[in-house]
């Protein structure tokens, strides 16, 4: 039996729930694995020793997250950074667009959607100056991006790992799974995602919507584009973007819109707004994306 642990740091717990999405396949997993620690499913408060595989989701937002990550790394043979937050920072790292003081104030003292109160000073762990993906704060053995990773992918990855084998799964972009047709149509306006009604069979980029599919690691089955929603890039950067030093999600998406629409690059750039949320939303906390010379992340984040 393999000792399996699930740890969630700063996250929405969606990654843990995604493991439950295995449904009947979960029985097969539990035949091989002994679930020893999972704060969201079990009443075990402290991390036990002798963990074989630890699945860590979420990012490191405060000092407690940092301590927990360090402890689980010391007690585990294999650590998997599970989900986009743990790999590249994901949604949680969008907090880097604001200062920790602004974030706390928005949650407690200056919250427009509830009664304001004083910021708590006891029990609550101190926020770190910036949010870090778990992968940047500890030695990680495997990265599995996805928001959350989809059940078929989890099955294809988790079952071989429990058997001590290396998984072999495709690493194509979202476009590889998308059934929309990419056409070269000239246009001169980039639409906001809320504007108009996109045609159901044509590629979003061909219709002037910012769709991150071509620069995003897929394996999600292109669920969003099938439902009429452009890809937001939740799977993290595609393998080509990570691999090539001069490629970045921003310049590649600009290139592609410009290539399809015949608009000059500068015109596309002028029309893109709020790139911190729209283009870099899921990768803004990642140091490997920030370290690229062409990356705009250093200009966007406040340290």
């Amino acid at each position: 039996m393999v000792n399996l642990a699930l740890e969630l740091l700063a996250s929405c717990a969606g990654c843990e729930v995604s493991i439950l999405d295995l449904h009947e396949d979960l029985i097969g997993v539990l035949e091989k694995a002994n679930l020893v620690y999972a704060p969201i499913l079990m009443d075990v408060k402290e991390i036990p020793d002798n963990i074989d595989i630890a699945i860590v989701s979420g990012s490191v937002r405060n000092e407690e997250n940092k301590e927990r990550l360090k402890e689980i790394r010391e007690k585990s043979k294999t650590v998997i950074a599970y989900g986009t937050c743990a790999c590249y920072g994901g949604i949680t790292c969008m907090a880097d667009l604001y200062s920790p003081e602004d974030v706390s104030a928005r949650s407690f003292s200056d919250n427009p959607s509830t009664e304001s109160s004083e910021q708590p000073s006891e029990v609550v762990p101190k926020l770190l100056p910036i949010v870090h993906p778990a992968g940047d704060m500890a030695e990680i053995d495997f990265y599995l991006p996805g928001c959350p990773p989809k059940e078929n992918l989890i099955k294809d990855v988790l079952v071989p790992l429990l058997n001590g084998e290396l998984p072999n799964v495709p690493q194509k972009s979202v476009c590889a799974d998308c059934s929309r047709t990419m056409e070269h149509i000239e246009f001169d306006k980039v639409h906001r995602r809320v504007e108009g009604e996109p045609k159901p069979d044509i590629c979003f980029l061909s219709q002037g919507y910012v769709c991150m599919g071509s620069v995003t690691l897929g394996r999600c089955g292109a669920l969003c584009s099938a439902a009429g929603v452009p890809c937001h890039g939740c799977g993290g950067p595609s393998m080509d973007i990570l691999r090539e030093p001069s490629h970045d999600v921003y310049n590649c998406i600009i290139n592609r819109i410009s290539h399809i629409s015949k608009m000059p690059h500068k015109d596309v750039e002028k029309q893109l707004y709020d790139i911190g949320h729209i283009v870099y939303g899921f990768v803004i906390g990642s140091t490997i994306m920030e370290d690229k010379k062409v990356s705009l992340i250093p200009e966007l984040i406040k340290k």
């Binding site: 790999c87 992968g135 990680i140 053995d141 495997f142 990265y143 599995l144 991006p145 990855v157 290396l166 998984p167 799964v169 690493q171 194509k172 972009s173 476009c175 590889a176 998308c178 929309r180 047709t181 990419m182 056409e183 070269h184 590629c203 980029l205 599919g213 071509s214 690691l217 595609s238 393998m239 080509d240 990570l242 691999r243 090539e244 030093p245 490629h247 590649c252 290139n255 592609r256 290539h259 490997i288 370290d291």
Partner: protein
Amino acid sequence: MVKIEIDEDACVGCGSCVDDCPNNVYEMDEEKNKTKVVNEDDCMACLSCHEICPAEAMEHKDIHVAKRLYIDRKVSGILKKII
């Protein structure tokens, strides 16, 4: 010589590689609406088709290692660990 493999399941038939290739290595297969390799010998491994392909549908085999050598050890290390 370069060997190019097209993953037809991944190819979305947009024709971007046909437009972009400086040496006309690709042509559209109108029947299947997928790209096909017609002049493999002319490929100079510039990988501009890689850059433009939205679906990462092509793989170049046996190309000079310098084309794919990422000197940043941190990135190379992480790339191997992504599953």
